[in-house]
Subunit: 345 residues, 4 copies
């Protein structure tokens, strides 16, 4: 930890900081510059909340050197985490990309859901996704079928031979959702719902953690750390669009570069949601292909058998035909990606 | 609702949209331009999720005309909402600004808390704030005293004759928190935790709803709408800093202009948190004074009897003396503000 | 143009707006809702600055329907613009992606520049890039060799059989730069330097226009419109990173999705700068490959024969070997991209 | 300067960085942590571009300790800069706030301009502002009267006994503009037009430098440094709205807190433009009052004698009556501000 003192700091101000850090078990190296003094404190950053030091008199700023997440960090585990999702499907490391697809909301139409399930399975997807509990910006929008939706989803998955993934929105529903789903999902707006992170940390099912639209990569990995710290190491990170400068042509700015950045700093698998990330149907296929080329371990795509009549987010859903066509393109790309990996060696 | 068709849309595409909107009860006015056709749909926007229409073939974009929040809107209630907080303290409309102050976290030191409570009361504050459940970016930081913290807070409030406000983080804790607190607070990171919004909508205690750091004013008012729609109309909106272009010199960008904007579009009281909004002690007093001049109905300020040893966020807390001095300045300003209101008439 | 009136607007307020728009030659359709009236004005939006209408009494908001750029728009030209850069190299449409590479700054070392030029040519690049006039955030950083740099660049290009591209920073230097360069570049910080846009609009050399880090796609295309409106239709758009939520792990957020968005709304070629877009060497190759897969017409990559001793931006430059290796990977990808295009048909 | 090495860095990587920094004249202190080594380099940061070091092998990150601006910094000059604008008007330090007002564009109507000039003078303004060269996002909008506008402005200023301020957009026009204006303005979109900054650095007239909508405070002060480094120390900083999370209800997010932040890090005067900062007429008066309470040295306000018929930006202009009323409110506030300053002592 680097503690920058104000230019006006007196020797006693500096010594007060030194004493405090030493009392907490840090080793101190003083860097006296011409204008300011910098106190380097070597030790376990988790012993102290940096804000505590930042509040001391004549401290200008505290800079972290080591990232504050530990279990999620590449330093704590050099090899990639590979998670066994069930049915022989693995995600992470050099495993084949896992394609997860399905409707935004599970609707009161099990036939439609089954139609989607069979179609995505035939196109190569391994996981059926669909929302039973729906976070909605407006209280007047469809809020989801809740347990009925979970039942439909589990039934469709079973019939089609697919794993199922679905969102949990509240700590009270974690056990219920985990009973039906193979993979539990935390939505972007709940990325820092710490009680919920704690609750999914207590179960053993894999968790897809979506990045909040304003979250830095550091905050994102700290949210994963909350889950891991509570006992569940099976975290799959999902980038789904951040706040950019333009919300006119796309809903969010899909931060595709977050994939290689996260792979450098963490060992966890990372996937891309091209549907929420763009909010426009015509952008899903280009975004998906770019995501795999840039190194994503999987995709979470909205697909609907009849998007014009979807209960939610039809504008960012592919039709079954569009999904099938995209999967063929992806198949060609994957062969090329394998060849590029050999060039790198 | 304004539905903009693509330039390439054919007559049948336009008619499909028209039929859909008419079937939902909207009245249609077609605006045929030289390049594009615009379908104006007059009716209750809550009948439909705009994304459903946006997904139809050859629809370029859907623009809302009326804001999607209703109960929170100025149209639904012309006069300002004034909330009775208890002990004769009112917030909103032309009531005197309500100053809420206290430590970021309630700590295991009831004496320190009492010292703070008496000091802020003597300086003119009406509400003691303090966190018992603490949302923390890192799992290694202090997470709060939970129920013990609630007890300390209630005791200190009672002794000092102050109302108390504290945060609830999870739907399971709403009843517990409401038992101890006069005012319940929803943190910025939970602004779109819809299950929690629903839960505080079921109680009758006033709720301080903090704006998420990436939330637009529209999303903020829609979050308030969730609470109101569930039955609790006593919502106090709190701006506490948004994502800006610079996180080096300040933690967030305090959006002071949100105060007059919200007052134009909503009847709800709006307050400012200058501590989280800036993250720096030297900015709290300037931000507080500007907040009141720009029309805020109150302040939520972090004050600690010994900030250097605070468990959390000491860097953005005032000392008791600094708070007292700031309150004297505020008192002078309030007299001037009264005079400016007369000039306007 | 859609003019939304305030709920409190009276009939006379509405009629005032109607008369004004009619006097400007617009055809009016009134959309009277239950709460607000919307005035749809059909006509050439370029007849009026929307802000003029937005200022009228009881006007709440003005929304554009048609995009305000015209020459740059897909509506004005359905087919892709293909620009002949010289030496048989074409950019845009279905032409092979054009790779432009070279050092951030042209340095006082013609041998080093030649080494780079030969290497990038052998790897498949067609254009040598390098800065002679350097925009620098700090006045204490290297500002470029100016005309000497232009000479070196032209000489290296000629010897290696490459086209050359370089930045112009000031309207006074446009003719000088155009004398030496095959392609003239406008930097991101000058995207709205309108006098400079006008000046490059008067020449005939192709112009690479970089997107400002806070510019929306609409503003970006309006900047291109300034150049085209002044007579130069040979504009190549370049995305190079926008302001995102995180500036810790990457310098900017590379908005790769801007490529398919721009291709939908404009006929102009669009390329990606993965160096400024990421600011980190390890991200250049992943970003470049994703850029081509998502449809970019070219790349602008920083390459240096000795990045550790570069005058500027070494951290985001590839070595010659790294560039050569990346080009081999790109070659594999391009074959796969061709196959995916056939699937789409 | 703090150079953070990668965890994987070997001793030779560290020594390479040490040798490089020592060769540049820095004194080195090594901080060896358990995971990473930090190289603290003490010396004049202007000797080196940090990006040069960041590019070296196994360097993770370079953090600046001292701000990179020098002439503009509070360290280089403890006392506030006070600039004599002429006609006995001073800005900065404890001088009375300087109110600058006038139309966005100078229009072809000298009578209207004179009417505005007399009215703002009578209300207490000291500077008449107005644009003769207009930066416009669209090439189809009014571009300004150019020299004729300068003449009108100078004439109106002379008749009313006001100083005049106007924008210069291009290095070629600096001398022309400086001939007519008392204060030269650099627009937000030109904040990093370094050739223009250099050109206004060569004149002696005071310069208002507007902050770019995406510029950090550090970049803003570095832009001022460019002007000062070229010889002109009379720089007035102007905050006029930055990119926020919401562009629906306001054009920009006015960063009022930038005023006390800048006053801590720099000695230069800082003013607020509430018109561009908000883009809405009803927000100008609240923003102006808050700006003065938070410590701004002046205001730059758009006022028009007939905003409905303004050539540009009428929606963010006050009428003459509104301006006059606002000035009366400001007068009351200033008395209160004086009293608060005494409380602080």
């Amino acid at each position: 930890m680097i503690i920058v003192m104000e230019p006006a700091a007196k020797e006693e101000d500096i010594q007060r900081v030194v004493r405090k850090m030493e009392s907490l078990g840090f080793r101190i190296i003083l860097n006296r510059g011409d204008v300011m003094t910098v106190v380097a404190a070597v030790g376990d950053k988790r012993l102290i909340d940096p804000a505590t030091i930042a509040s001391m008199e004549e401290v200008r700023e505290v800079k972290l050197i080591q990232e504050p997440f530990k279990l999620a960090s590449r330093e704590s585990q050099r090899t990639d985490t590979v998670i066994d999702l069930g049915l022989g499907v693995k995600i992470g490391g050099n495993s084949a990309p896992v394609i997860m697809a399905g409707p935004c909301s599970v609707e009161d139409d099990i036939e439609g859901l089954l139609k989607t399930a069979y179609a995505i399975r035939d196109a190569g997807a391994k996981v059926l996704r669909g929302g039973a509990f729906k976070p909605r910006t407006s209280p007047y929008d469809f809020q989801g079928l809740e347990e009925l939706g979970l039942k439909y989803l589990a039934e469709a998955g079973k019939k089609a031979g697919l794993l199922v993934a679905t969102e949990v929105m509240d700590s009270q529903d974690v056990d219920l959702v985990a009973d039906y789903a193979d993979i539990v999902q935390i939505g972007a707006r709940n990325m820092q719902n710490f009680k919920l992170l704690k609750a999914v940390g207590k179960i053993s099912k894999p968790v897809i953690l979506k990045r909040g639209p304003a979250a830095t990569v550091r905050e994102f990995l700290l949210a994963a750390e909350h889950i891991m710290h509570n006992g569940n190491a099976n975290v799959i990170l999902c980038e789904r669009g951040i706040l950019g400068v333009d919300s006119h042509f796309t809903r969010n700015t899909l931060d595709l570069l977050a994939v290689p950045v996260i792979k450098k700093y963490s060992h966890l698998p990372v996937i891309i949601d091209p549907s929420h990330g763009t909010g426009r149907r015509y952008l899903i296929s280009p975004a998906s292909k770019a995501a795999l080329v840039i190194g994503a371990h999987g995709l979470l795509v909205e697909v609907h058998h009849d998007p014009d009549n979807a209960y939610s987010d039809g504008a960012q859903s592919l039709t079954l035909d569009q999904f099938s066509s995209m999967m063929k393109e992806i198949s060609e790309l994957e062969k090329a990606i394998s060849k590029t990996l050999e060039i790198k060696k």
